[in-house]
Amino acid sequence: MGEALNVSRGGRGGSGPEGSFSWKQFLLKYNIILILMLICLALSIYTNRFLNQENLINITRQVSINGILAVGMTMVVLTGGIDLSVGSLVALSGVVTAVLLRDHHMAIPMVVVVSVLVGLVMGSLNGYFVAYCRAAPFVVTLAMMTAARGMTYVYSKGRPISPLPADFLFLGKGNLWIVPIPVIIFFLTFLLGVLILRHLRIGRYIYAVGGNETAAVVSGINAKRVKLFAYCFSGLLCGLAAIILTARVSAGLPQAGQSYELDAIAATVIGGTSLAGGRGRLWGTLVGALLLGVVNNGLDLMEITSFYQQIVKGVIILGAVLLDSKRHSA
């Protein structure tokens, strides 16, 4: 991923010379992985229930929804924006999915397409207002968060939508060999994100726009289109995450997805992506999502009552971000 790192540093100047290997540089660069490994180590020492196949599969399944959303969130944050609407868009796509399945008996592949399209359309509205009307991303997506939640209630009449066909539930509960389907979808999403950011021109444009929009525009980049793309992508992934969530809980829930935006932002930021935009890595987001998942799982396994869990989680998020800010100031 060295290439991606170089690109990511492009806007702000790198830290230290590349090429000559030093442990200090290595540790600074990959500190987030280090923390993840240390936490895993601590958990394995503390409880024998952590490090076994069943539990590790549980963790990956538990992180996939947040992971998918975080890939989109990273894209948006890299442009210097934020997307607060993801939780509501998941709920909206989720109830649309459930109604199409239950009341219209639509074929599952079609339902997946429609759900993703719903997310994409709503995301494109976010992108349009942010890019072409120059409205603040925080406000635009906050408005979308509220409005989309309202639409969800209207569409579902405020009731959970179930039962859903068993074939569909496979997308949330099923396995391919031992790998849960949600994990496979998450992994493919992650690869798609890496492909976009590393190998496609739009990816480099995203870093450029987030790093210095004026410079990007002067050098001929259509910054508006780049931003529109990022919000569309985030919306699309909401539709995808909604499929998994709906299949996992086996119902379309109008109140689902609340505060999912915060988890996605946490994974992004823990992974080292700067909220100012232009700097960040998708693999960091992956590790960030895993870290949150491991902490959630580990605290449950340690049978720590929820009140304390939240304190520990807060400390870890803050600590990870402090560590990262040190890295960038170093």
Partner: protein, 310 residues
């Protein structure tokens, strides 16, 4: 080096958290539970759960699903992985908890319910309130208070939650018998006092002098509605559910008329007891164990104020 130190500290914070966990001894029965959200009610219920667990010598773990159905499923997975003997669930959502029953069945760990019924045909053991009955009791009180005819408004809980659906069902069971009672308006105020206050203010603007009674799905909202009424100098019959301390005092002061008591402490105790009985192979005779719902008015409110709310 300071960064390394910080990284070490972070890992250490997890290890330091370890003493917060209860000692792990595998011989005693362990009850792993996940509750939907730490409301005041659930906090009382959890105290009851803990009290019962202590008496039975059971190890109890309580997780908070933060009102998110997917989080709750993850917690059930984690409780299965941590080899609890029985899993006790106060469900976020009656439908969305059903996959958890399947998971537990596959893992051969019994799953029992407390507080919230699950929407499934599969048999399971349960202890909790009869929310339909609660809705009937409060609606009947309000209908009687307005003499069987007039206009009522309904403040609902968050749309789609079991408590909202079932209390509304109970309301409707009563109201359908009274063709002369008309529902002027009904709206969710999400268990929230301030939202209910605003909603009631708006209703008083929309239907000046037309509202005869208020049915609220919980006390917080009832108290908000009463504030709106008092600000206008209006006194109407208000029926409610929960019997929290504030509401009992309001009844004592004559500001609120009636609420329905769901004994949270007793419910928590019963929940753990049923889970324990199931885990030890002596399940209770009935699968669904409702705790008795009781209408609280001026006549019997002292009973609560002098005991649990002393």
């Amino acid at each position: 080096m300071r960064k390394l130190l910080l990284a070490g500290l972070l890992a250490l914070s997890l290890v330091l958290a370890a003493p917060l966990a209860q000692a792990q001894e595998k011989k005693e029965i362990s009850v792993g539970s996940t509750v939907y959200y730490m409301t005041e009610f659930i906090t009382l219920m959890v105290e009851g759960m803990q009290a019962e667990a202590d008496e039975l010598g059971v190890k109890l773990t309580i997780l908070d699903a933060n009102n998110d159905a997917s989080t709750q499923l993850s917690q059930v997975e984690n409780l299965i992985a941590s080899k609890s003997d029985v899993i006790l669930v106060a469900a976020v959502d009656a439908d969305a908890i059903v996959p958890a029953l399947d998971m537990a069945e596959q893992a051969n760990i019994p799953l029992t319910g407390v507080n919230m019924l699950m929407n499934t045909d599969k048999p399971y053991y349960y202890a909790g309130p009869n929310d339909v009955e609660a809705g009937e009791l409060e609606a009947q009180y309000v209908v009687d208070a307005i003499g069987g005819k007039g206009n009522v408004v309904i403040l609902e809980g968050p749309i789609g939650t079991s408590a909202q659906l079932q209390r509304l069902e109970g309301n409707m069971n009563v109201l359908k018998n009274y063709p002369d009672v008309k529902i002027l308006a009904q709206k969710p105020a999400n268990w929230n006092r301030e939202q209910a206050l605003n909603t009631m203010e708006n209703w008083l603007q929309t239907y000046p002098g037309e509202i005869n009674g208020v049915i609220s799905h919980n006390d917080e909202m009832a108290l908000g509605a009463i504030q709106a009424l008092e600000a206008k100098g209006i006194k109407l019959p208000v029926g409610s559910v929960d019997a929290i301390k504030d509401a009992c005092q309001a009844i004592k002061e004559g500001r609120l008329d009636a609420t329905v008591f769901q004994d949270a402490h007793l419910e928590g105790r019963l929940g753990v007891r049923v889970a324990y009985q199931v885990a030890t192979g002596n399940p209770p005779p009935e699968r669904i164990n409702f705790i008795k719902m009781e209408l609280i008015t001026k006549d019997n409110v002292d009973k609560l104020l002098d005991t649990i709310y002393k």
